[in-house]
């Protein structure tokens, strides 16, 4: 996977100015079309959502959602056709199953399940696009930033510091007696 280029650093954000960043995956036939309709109808909603178009909500791999969160999204919205209306018959049901499993997993990971939302929005429901996006933006604002990249960086620093410490102790103590007899190539050295 390619590394994202690091463009000019964003202005140092005042925590009070913080506003959630939401990545959305919209299906081509219903929800993306509904978002187009919201535009054509000149409805106004929060500018916090970035939409990625897919042919079907069934294409949404849970990894897309986790990757978006890992890369700094505060929430993820998935939009598909209403049950029974899927352009591909039942892709939305497949997404529903994944969503329910993912919700459990998010809880286990310590991420609030509200940060991942699945909505059925038909091509006629421009108004619902507006409502869902506004609602979700408010909800995530109340929850606060997820900030996974920052947390990763902190954890990385801790692990690196720990690893250095272990290395230093190993170097001072000399070879480990348990492994001195037959050191295997590529084997990790334990403290």
């Amino acid at each position: 996977m390619s590394q994202a280029p690091a463009p000019a650093a964003a202005p140092a954000a005042n925590p009070r100015d913080w506003s959630p960043r939401i990545v959305a995956f919209f299906c081509n036939w219903c929800t993306y079309t509904a978002a187009d309709l919201a535009g054509v109808s000149r409805l106004k909603y929060a500018p916090n959502v970035r939409v990625i178009r897919l042919m079907c909500s069934g294409r949404v791999d849970p990894q897309f959602i986790l990757d978006a969160l890992a890369r700094g999204a505060d929430a993820v919205l998935v939009g598909g056709c209403h049950p029974g209306d899927c352009h591909y018959v039942e892709g939305n049901y497949k997404m529903l199953r994944r969503h329910q499993l993912l919700q459990r997993m998010l809880t286990d990971l310590g991420i609030e399940p509200e940060r991942v939302r699945l909505e059925w929005i038909s091509a006629a429901e421009g108004e619902k696009v507006k409502r869902v996006i506004n609602e979700m933006t408010e909800q995530i604002k109340a929850l606060g930033p997820l900030g996974l990249p920052r947390k990763f960086a902190e954890w990385d620093r801790e692990v690196i510091a720990l690893a250095r410490e272990v290395h230093a102790r190993d170097a001072a103590a000399g070879p480990c007696p348990a492994h001195a007899a037959a050191p295997q190539p590529g084997e990790t050295v334990h403290a």
């Binding site: 994202a4 463009p7 897309f64 507006k130 990249p149 960086a153 690893a163």
Partner: protein, 698 residues
């Protein structure tokens, strides 16, 4: 990946769309920002990208700057992706090296803060620039279309569609499961609101179907299997045994006259069981084709117990006077078996119609309990000159003073039986108000009886329909507003003795009334065919929650289904009257013609394929595909995708545990880089946490 990034030369264009975008997005700032991204050779803002000069600009730049990727940030791709792909192609690039960013419908039109809207435009544009690096050249697939058409169902919809197509020179297979075409319309006496005789307008069309050189008519036949995809369907049709060789039967009906049963004895289904027929019969005088058939359930030449597979056993116990009567023609063949024939067609028209609501499901109205409660379809046969009584309206129970079967002196017609009712069906069947009034008129004409209509609302949306209602009011037909509570034979006064009493709350007068009548007619609603769900699966269509077949778009694609090349017409899509059915059949035929005459279908190359080396053979993708496009190679233990069947939803891709399925235009790498792109404005050490940790440990 690094090498690939060096090779790409991206041209980026941001469109002002007049003021539509430029008023809310600082287009020049977006262009300046995108110019700083790696791989971007050129970044411009322009007033109207979709204009001819705008498209010309792209083509020139491709040639001049050697661009090999193009990104345009403008309106919705659903609107102009096609336009810009064309421009990119004209510039000499593969059209799939293009990606479009929606900064109008999804940005400038829906936001009010110019700074934030500009930031959003930058994010979206950056995502596209990240994504387009991974794009691959793809080919548009052109699939040729077989010119023949299958029409399923020989009611008025199927007949009209088949004739339209056949007259345009296309070969049509018309398959009907009953012994004759004609459908429900053939049973009607008159049609509303013009009161022209249904047979007079239908039978010329039926015989035209029977004799048309371009139509192959298969009645007493059913579609059993459909394989393939738009343009190339392989269909198996079961031709049920008639025990009469169609090509040899001349329709003389001598066999019927000479049957050992001197009198008709068995229920005549065409006449709604009001009449009788013999074991060898023709459903009705104008039946098309004019070919008799033998009912092995009752014919003496068959045993009453059947083979284990359900096929009848010939007993040879009958004198076979029918065979004698047929003589030299030798059309009767008791050894005939069901046959399955296979045909190839390019398009399919589904015109499978409806069934009427079973009035027994509303027990309070006493259908099946009181003999003189009729359904509307029974009354259609009763008033029909070719019906079981020759057009005489006589009751099942009771006699006139002279001993002849009783003619009704008063008739109650109950509307909305099995329609607009939470206990049965919620929908309005659309035709019942009008046909009830038509029957009221015909019954009055035939019997001179007092007619009472019990209605909830009178719905007459159609040309000349309201006028027909007014005419009925002038004729002196009584209209009582209220849903009938009960039909009973329990008399409370001497006048009610021997009559059926309709109990109803007259909601206009605000009183509960008891109306004694001789005959009750139930205006039964329309329902999806009993096997609609099986038929839906057969043709890979969808049903709405109510069971009617679902059209692709209620307004803009009313005869298309979600399966390309399969079209709908008539009541299988929802209740409608004859004019609407015929109009829809014509539309379906026109849609099929447009497809056939083009000669091929273009397919968006967003299909999926499986990377053979990566596939673990777990088969978890196979049941996910709604199009059964994923197959399993048992010898190699690998799944593979029939790309002709794949519609490109990507459901299998999203669920493959080994990541071995790739969807063109929506590859994992493309989507992950798009995610990275929209989120990259915060300088983060992107990537999955695990990778980062290991890499960073000294």
């Amino acid at each position: 990946m690094k090498a690939k990034r060096d090779e790409v030369r991206i041209g980026f264009y941001v469109c002002h769309c007049g003021h539509n975008i430029a008023a809310m997005v600082d287009c020049a700032a977006v262009a300046r920002y995108i110019a700083t991204l790696p791989g971007v050779v050129l970044s411009r803002d322009y007033k109207y990208m979709c204009s001819d000069p705008g498209q010309e600009l792209i083509q020139q730049d491709i040639r001049e700057y050697g661009l090999n990727r193009v990104v345009v940030a403008s309106c919705s791709p659903l609107l102009h992706e096609h336009t810009f792909r064309g421009a990119v192609t004209a510039g000499g690039l593969n059209p799939y090296f293009f990606h479009m960013v929606n900064i109008r419908e999804h940005d400038s039109w829906v936001h009010t803060d110019r700074v934030l809207a500009t930031e959003k435009a930058k994010d979206l544009a950056r995502a596209a620039v990240e994504r387009v690096v991974h794009h691959k050249p793809l080919e548009i697939k052109k699939v040729p279309i077989h010119p023949d058409v299958l029409v399923v169902g020989g009611g008025i919809a199927g007949i009209h569609a088949a004739l339209t197509l056949a007259n345009a020179g296309k070969k049509v297979f018309l398959v009907e499961r009953e012994p004759s075409i004609g459908g429900h319309m053939a049973k009607f006496d008159k049609t509303f609101p013009t009161l022209d005789c249904a047979a007079c307008i239908l039978t010329p069309k039926m015989s035209e179907v029977g004799s048309h050189p371009n139509i192959t008519l298969w009645t007493w036949s059913e579609v059993v299997k459909v394989d393939g995809y738009v343009g190339n369907y392989t269909v198996q049709i079961k031709r049920k045994a008639r025990y009469v060789i169609e090509d040899l039967c001349t329709g003389c009906q001598d066999c019927i006259a000479h049957c050992v049963y001197k009198e008709p004895k068995f229920d005549d289904l065409f006449n709604e069981r009001l009449g009788k027929r013999k074991p060898v019969y023709i459903p009705f005088p104008q039946a098309t084709p004019q070919v008799v058939l033998i009912d092995p359930e009752v014919c003496l030449n068959f045993k009453r117990n059947k083979n284990p597979d359900g096929t009848p056993v010939v007993s040879d116990k009958c004198k076979k006077t029918c065979v004698e009567a047929c003589g030299e023609k030798r059309a009767i063949d008791f050894t005939q078996k069901d046959q399955v024939v296979e045909i190839k067609v390019g398009t399919i028209l589904v015109c499978t119609g409806f069934k009427t609501f079973d009035a027994r499901r509303v027990p309070a109205y006493g259908y099946g309990v009181y003999p003189n409660v009729y359904t509307a379809l029974e009354v259609e046969r009763l008033v029909n000159a070719s019906g079981p009584t020759g057009g005489q309206v006589v009751l099942r129970q009771g006699t006139n003073p002279d001993g002849s079967p009783k003619n009704p002196r008063s008739i109650g017609i109950i509307h909305c039986v099995g329609s607009r009712d939470k206990k049965t069906n919620l929908w309005c069947s659309r035709v019942c108000c009008m046909y009830s009034m038509k029957l009221a008129h015909l019954l009055k004409e035939h019997t001179g009886a007092e007619i009472y209509n019990f209605y909830i609302d009178i719905r007459t949306p159609g040309k000349g329909y309201e006028e027909f209602y007014n005419k009925l009011l002038e004729e002196g037909t009584h209209f009582i507003r209220g849903r009938v509570g009960e039909v009973t034979d329990w008399a409370m006064t001497p006048e009610e003795e021997g009559k059926l009493v309709i109990r109803v709350e007259d909601t206009l007068a605000g009183v509960v009334r008891r109306i004694p009548v001789d005959m009750v007619v139930l205006a039964t609603g329309l329902e999806p065919q009993a096997d609609a769900d099986a038929v839906r699966r057969l043709f890979n269509m969808s049903c709405g929650g109510d069971g009617w077949f679902l059209e692709r778009h209620p307004k803009l694609a009313p005869v298309n289904t979600f399966t390309d090349g399969v079209f709908l017409a008539g009541c299988c899509q929802g209740p409608k009257d004859i004019p609407d059915t015929v109009a829809q059949a014509g539309a379906a035929a026109a849609e099929a013609l447009a497809l056939i005459d083009k000669g091929y279908v273009e397919q968006e190359p967003n299909t999926a394929h499986i990377l053979d080396a990566e596939c673990s053979g777990c088969k978890s993708c196979i049941p996910l595909c709604p199009y059964t496009a994923i197959l399993f190679d048992e010898t190699r233990q690998k799944a593979y995708i029939n790309e002709a069947l794949c519609k490109g939803c990507g459901t299998c891709v999203g669920s493959c545990p080994s990541g071995s399925i790739v969807q063109n235009l929506f590859e994992d790498a493309e989507i992950f880089s798009e995610i990275a792109g929209v989120l990259a404005d915060e300088p983060v050490a992107a990537g999955r946490p695990g990778n980062l940790t290991q890499a960073a440990i000294p």
